[in-house]
Symmetry: D2
Subunit: 188 residues, 4 copies
């Protein structure tokens, strides 16, 4: 099944990772480019942090747990990336950076980080919540709305593998249905 | 509906464009980064060319039609990108560049460009075919196999919008089902 | 698009109807047969009532609104069905029938009818809720659980049209994504 | 996962069965009712034969293999159905019945049975092909067209399970993506 491209096969995996299908949506829908500064919280195994760092200028990556940061740091070393700053810290309390282009939030109750995310973002910048449950999505989207974010959209990305053979082209019988919803919102 | 992010709303649109959902999959599954050199054919309205140029080092973009290149050139100017080279030319006959990281093919009978794509790619580089029909997918994937490409995968990316409200969270009633299949293949 | 089979094209349509894709799931997953007695509420335009009546022994169909029953009655006449009893009545207050095989509920706050549905059902009988929103689904499924229903399942049925031609087989570009969730529960 | 309703759990299973999601579509889209006569080929484990027999007047079920018919016969006995006639026979050569309402075809190269299916059907009757591959679908649909069938439609039915809990409503992570396409066609 086409879940992990070659690059990701090499990476260490501790806590649950964000899959390339969702990373791709974040890349193409957030509007980031080579000059973008990103904040990613929580770091987890660092897959999203690393994916952003490979394409953007700098990524500031926050997690509460040092053991997760240690896994992500190993992955950073393996790919020899020099534009990631890991911070053990709580984005519910503070995001140090300002004028950033993108804030990605993957943690329980991530709506509690929206206020700080808004402070960190430049005008026109995007926050993205990665949220498995519909209740989380609702809390996040409504909170974003009440904080004055605009262009709020929620999507679910489904990737189907097609089995291609000389005779017998068809979708595969089983597959991944759901990882998480992505909620996008923009600072006016 | 969440189809065109803000950036794309500004762009001119001539021939059929590749949507951000498919661009995202190409970005996250091809393994490209800031140092990557890409070849994109055909240029069309230039959305994929521009998306790649915003994140990669340089994009060489080919089309048979000058009027399409003119539209794409206007879009390039609007975003002030200086790392795109447009060429009026036929990739079935020749791709000048070598040692590139990614070749993207969106044109009828694109399997006929696979031989030149393989010559242009560096070892480990990726070719991606954007193909609406199952018959095209079969021709492309089988040709890639016969030319010695590896890690050949075909996927369809479906993005569902979730309607989020204080009461009444549900998927939207209608949506885009299908744009095209993406066939990924890697040069050994 | 393949939404309404030939039969349904003839029927009158007042309030929002249940589509054949969802009717099919109710038919095949509820376990009803030619000897089954069904209760359907609310009647609406009568499509589900009629679909059940064409295959089962008798259908008792409830609605609060006489104008809806009038539409459904016209549809019944058109198909010359003699095994439907329409009742203007409130299933939140009372379902007269007992020992029935299936109760289908399509109305706001349908979880309020679950207690009466359970009384009406025979042991092993099935109740099905047709519910557009995730919040409704949660209230319905949790209420069913608290009332002692078993085998509680929630599904969403998605039907994709495939465009089939001499050259160019592919899914259609757009389609119906979501009508409603179906919650199935069985009386022990 | 919600694949086999209670009824089907009891049934014996030899060759690959048709799942209730696809049976439901056949029931609701073919327009059959209690008075309908159906032909089902091949019998296989008899799940579709039995599902039809529980709701229709009579089902004539054909298979080339006696061991499959033996399994289906056991399933028939278990449910005490008296309206099924099993025949060891080749529907490519002959379908004895005439004036039937529905012919269902689940076998390799089933387009070869379309001519006999058309003879067997009454005017307005429906033939349904159950076909896993896109190439089979194309052969079946184009053959049906060339034989003068009308209202030819191909669909794929996808059923997603929703996980419903006090907190954490979301689609299940994995699921069944594809069983087969259904091609519907009607005799004018």
């Amino acid at each position: 099944m086409f879940i992990y491209p070659r690059l990701y096969n090499k990476l260490k995996r501790g806590p649950q990772v964000i899959l390339p299908k969702d990373i791709g949506m974040i890349l193409s829908h957030s509007g980031i480019d080579k000059n973008s500064i990103c904040v990613d919280a929580g770091t987890g195994s660092g897959w999203l942090t690393i994916s952003l760092a490979r394409l953007c200028k700098h990524v500031y990556s926050y997690d509460l747990r040092e053991d997760f940061i240690a896994i992500a740091e190993k992955n950073r070393e393996m790919l020899a990336l020099d534009n990631i700053t890991f911070t053990k810290g709580d984005v519910f309390k503070k995001i140090k950076e300002t004028n950033v282009d993108l804030v990605t939030l993957d943690m329980p109750s991530s709506e509690k980080a929206l206020k700080n995310a808004k402070k960190a973002l430049k005008s026109g910048g995007t926050v993205v919540g990665y949220l498995p449950h519909t209740e989380q999505v609702k809390r996040f989207a409504l909170k974003a709305q009440s904080l004055g974010f605009i262009d709020i959209y929620t999507v679910e990305t489904i990737v189907r593998d097609l089995l291609v053979r000389k005779e017998g082209v068809r979708p595969t019988n089983t597959g991944i249905w759901h990882t998480a919803y992505l909620v996008f919102a923009r600072k006016p």
